[in-house]
Symmetry: D2
Amino acid sequence: MPQTNPVIHMLGRRLRLAAIGGGPGSFIGAMHRQAARLDDRFELVAAALSSDPDKSRAAGADLGLPADRSYGTAYALMEAEAMRADGADVVAIMTPNDSHHPYAMHALKLGFDVICDKPMANTLAQAQEVCAQVAHSQRVYCLTHNYTGYPLVRQAKAMVQAGHLGDIRLVQVEYVQGGRAKPGPSRTAWKDDVSRGGPSLVLGDIGTHAHNLLRFITGLEVEQVAAEVGTIVPTRQTHDYAGVLLRMQGGARGNLWVTQAAAGVENSLRIRVSGSLGTLEWAQESPQILSFKPLGAPAQTYTPNGPGTLPLAARSSRIASGHPEGFHEAFANLYADAAEAIAARRCGLAPDPLALYFPNATDGLLGVQFVTAVLQSSAQQGVWTTV
Amino acid sequence: MPQTNPVIHMLGRRLRLAAIGGGPGSFIGAMHRQAARLDDRFELVAAALSSDPDKSRAAGADLGLPADRSYGTAYALMEAEAMRADGADVVAIMTPNDSHHPYAMHALKLGFDVICDKPMANTLAQAQEVCAQVAHSQRVYCLTHNYTGYPLVRQAKAMVQAGHLGDIRLVQVEYVQGGRAKPGPSRTAWKDDVSRGGPSLVLGDIGTHAHNLLRFITGLEVEQVAAEVGTIVPTRQTHDYAGVLLRMQGGARGNLWVTQAAAGVENSLRIRVSGSLGTLEWAQESPQILSFKPLGAPAQTYTPNGPGTLPLAARSSRIASGHPEGFHEAFANLYADAAEAIAARRCGLAPDPLALYFPNATDGLLGVQFVTAVLQSSAQQGVWTTV
Amino acid sequence: MPQTNPVIHMLGRRLRLAAIGGGPGSFIGAMHRQAARLDDRFELVAAALSSDPDKSRAAGADLGLPADRSYGTAYALMEAEAMRADGADVVAIMTPNDSHHPYAMHALKLGFDVICDKPMANTLAQAQEVCAQVAHSQRVYCLTHNYTGYPLVRQAKAMVQAGHLGDIRLVQVEYVQGGRAKPGPSRTAWKDDVSRGGPSLVLGDIGTHAHNLLRFITGLEVEQVAAEVGTIVPTRQTHDYAGVLLRMQGGARGNLWVTQAAAGVENSLRIRVSGSLGTLEWAQESPQILSFKPLGAPAQTYTPNGPGTLPLAARSSRIASGHPEGFHEAFANLYADAAEAIAARRCGLAPDPLALYFPNATDGLLGVQFVTAVLQSSAQQGVWTTV
Amino acid sequence: MPQTNPVIHMLGRRLRLAAIGGGPGSFIGAMHRQAARLDDRFELVAAALSSDPDKSRAAGADLGLPADRSYGTAYALMEAEAMRADGADVVAIMTPNDSHHPYAMHALKLGFDVICDKPMANTLAQAQEVCAQVAHSQRVYCLTHNYTGYPLVRQAKAMVQAGHLGDIRLVQVEYVQGGRAKPGPSRTAWKDDVSRGGPSLVLGDIGTHAHNLLRFITGLEVEQVAAEVGTIVPTRQTHDYAGVLLRMQGGARGNLWVTQAAAGVENSLRIRVSGSLGTLEWAQESPQILSFKPLGAPAQTYTPNGPGTLPLAARSSRIASGHPEGFHEAFANLYADAAEAIAARRCGLAPDPLALYFPNATDGLLGVQFVTAVLQSSAQQGVWTTV
């Protein structure tokens, strides 16, 4: 990562960030704020942390925000900040899934750049609308598929791009969690409500991460799926597992398996990509190791900033090799890159091309298209369905 | 493993073994003989190592066999040994796949017990015939799905049986190899000949292993499959990958992925089984570790003969914990158990029930049925197909 | 980690931090600032980043500091900030080793709380002086032995405290790096200058970390050492390895091995602690795993915020289990705890006792005493020497 | 491993083996016999399994031995077998430590080749006597430091020999077990009797293994030691831990740590060897992985028969890469190589030079010299002591 702060360098100040959602009790809210803070490219200036104005102010005070910039609604925040001379530049959305679309649309229309938690939207039509608005507004839209921020995921992508794997042939990706192994409601009530959490909880929560990860590393799109999505834990109403066979662009074949019902498993997002020249393996629970097994030579282990690090990975680490970075740093890489892109846009400069690997609106739309096709195949006896 | 040799204890001598196949250059032939030898329950007394009588005698001499018991054909061996007072008790078949059926049938009809390499047969009809003949002959038939011989695979099965996982819900099994990543013929010519290697090379070679492993550990049968089987390496004629979604007995769901075209991967047979109470994970490349992740308690690591070893696993290790056993010992466990069953049969004794966990004719038939259903689903656009 | 920011809660604002050192090119400077920022308990308000006033101002501007708070010397910074109404509360020292003592002394005398990079001092007399001044001034002094900030290192300590290991008997600690495997000067010139880097580079750089880690986890002091310290890479003038046999308080025995000359190794800080009831193992390169091998039961794997997490570890993680945290978060835990202690001190409140596990002045003094004894034993043919 | 059995090829038959010791309840006895059997180069023809003639005959019968070749004493066996036309060629000694010397001496004098469990002897004088007798008799003497039989240990040695590590600089070896973590007697009574088990149980049992392993891989001798040997478990009379600093031939430095009192640890023999060009790491509990970390390039993982396998390792594996071999196969490699050397000797042929890497009498003597020097240093306050 560059020593000099490119945002301060370009803008002369940090970007002003407004947070929508992420109030008390929100795991992902604290995560977003830490990610925004780590590389000192943002200053949190406003938030809408609760729909109860008093609670929102109290939660804002806990974060060191002044009372007049702790808003009771997302819309109030956006309207007011858009009017202030020192108003927020960027809106970060970390609310339940069904509000991602309306808040992002509103923010874009008011001229904010947007950082939004995934999924982009609960329906295809909404996703298309956001995508069109991003194109129209020429604003930066960053979707926090944070796993693509890990240095070794980026190293994997860079190795594929550099041809180290040859032609991609086979992909396996799994995202297996145990958080919903027990019957009963989610810790977050809206997740169990299909109208808020989306048509398939497991696909929206983690299926889109798995899909995004395999697209990011391989650079290939999924063309067809044969799938089953269902519920394995008794009495549950929302999906908790999905198995998908994949036909990829260029003829590669793949397999995607996601579940939140694997008792005792923590957060096992793993990927294996095989090409004609070798195989890459990475697992999120040991993110500081990337295994490359070349055809006919000993397997190699890549580490962040270790020997063989390619530029895209090098700029994604803050530290010498052997010093693990984790989930926060991966998440922060998206914020840092989005910040660089936003600052460049505001200054009319061309950003470093390597800053543009954060997930964007097109990635979000492709994720929703994937979910749609998977559900369709599952509903039709598993037949191959075009994405 | 018991200190006293149960075969010598029951029979007063070792079992006399005749090997069909496994001549010079055969990897699996040496493996079978080492497995037979390790626990000293067999004595190799005869072999048909080549269809050229001179070559067969020379290869037999290399193994220390007398010239008159090195035969030019499997049938010659079986006919002659069946007539000798000191003739072989058991025939071990390690020939190309298409001959498994006729040799096993002949051996069973002549009264031999049979140890046969997998798959049992290339067609469903043949498999059914062998199965019926085994039942009719009351002989022992052991199919060398050797991975079920690993102590920790048996520990996994025993833990499932003992209820440690609760209700089985989700299964993932993969068998990923790289031996066929490069275009061009197999090292063994018959494998590329569908009439000899069977209708689907990848399914016959390793798909049946993966299927057998998941059945062994879970104790559940596969009821329906949605699958794709195909060829990913350019110019190849035989299958080199398969992806299968699984609907299991009792409602569990699963995913099976096998390929021999993953460049650089060696022999990655891995399984994860999740139940309502926890998840088991095992990988053949590190066979001395079984991970159990119970719901709500720290993950545990089981080792062969380590704390918590259940009886089925305990009898499958020869050594104190911390001293790795490997592929040979797993393979030898099948030979050792089959020997115990055969000796008991010959003496009219009841074998130790724990000796009866080697794969048998029913397992072989179920494997062929699985292959058949997978091919059928793949041919029909991936629709769910009953096994 | 608590949702509410205890510093803002107690003080109504963030602590004001002044950084001494850590200018352009400094790895550890960026690290300190990120650590200070992550949990939003500090605001960087001033810095002395270079002895050239212009360079210091330029570097400060890169960090977003106003020109009048970018100072040309540490002393200028401390004098000026002590006079300002809105002056810094805390001074963080991240300069070459020989200046740790004078800067800390000056800061303490002016009433600042101090966060200081290790080692505390290059000589025993200096360390004793700092220690006395801390006691006298009643200020918080935090020495950044950052490895004790890892959640699972704290879990290990808490498990020892809770008696899970029984009586501690055997300790092994190694800190093996490869950064100095090649002959030639260090990247940082002062490290090769004994008058600046201290009497033993390898002991000051990483030996004190290893010593601190074993004391932290076991709660036991080193009583006697038998040691060799030396230089293994040809032409080098400073120490690059040390081996130390340890006699610990209460009769435990141990072994410490440190080197920076192990070609190809990254940052292998590992510890194993055995007690009468079991053994703990932890390695910095996989910090999200703590292995506990209890006597007579399967080995257990602890993860941050996973099942079995004790309170000291729970407050040291920001995230759900399965989401790795790394070096930054460990470092930030020291800053976060020191901040809590400082805020409590300033408000006359009792801090949470669990906030007081950061390394302090006594830890620093014991580190220097250890180095002194090791060097003495090495100079005397390895005989046992009292610390 | 060669397909053709070199012993049968040279001699026209298997070697005839007589076992001294290893009767009922002996772990190591079964191990020796399985190792001898695996590669079919030996036939067990005689044994002295108990000092009670009836028990010896019964135990022999369990192994399939005729009554007249189950002897009541080692001496009776050796005298009788030396006289038989079909008598044993080789004597394998697997008795308590104090008898290794007299039995080996007697066997050598009668013209037998000898395979002997370690340690070679309990005293330096005895070890020197055996060494001289081996030289005088021109017989093969193989000492079963079995860990050097692992394919990847041999790969490590071959890589060092080939210069992949450059100049050896630093060595760490540990052998940590937990079998004696609890107070109370050993499972084997003679081990607690210094007159039988030798002057230092932990050094004789496992210290010599660690010493042999580091010599084998590095090709360097230990010149000086600074050590402590002692007893950490209360009430125990024999040594259960030792720490040793090492000065090696050529200036390399090292560290050796062994204990049998680490509760919960199984059999952690680990070694790290650093040279000017890179570092090798191997651990017995995962013997199928050898890590090589070259200076300035990604770490590599070697596997048995995987890419990059050197000839010494290739001949030590029986199987394709990805199929783990274990402790038995490593042990069997010593038997297989000794057999090849013995058969060559008997036929007046030159053995394959790669067959001569099994530990021999000189290795045994060096092991006893090492133990002697370590005890001497420990008794003298840890001062450096020449081996």
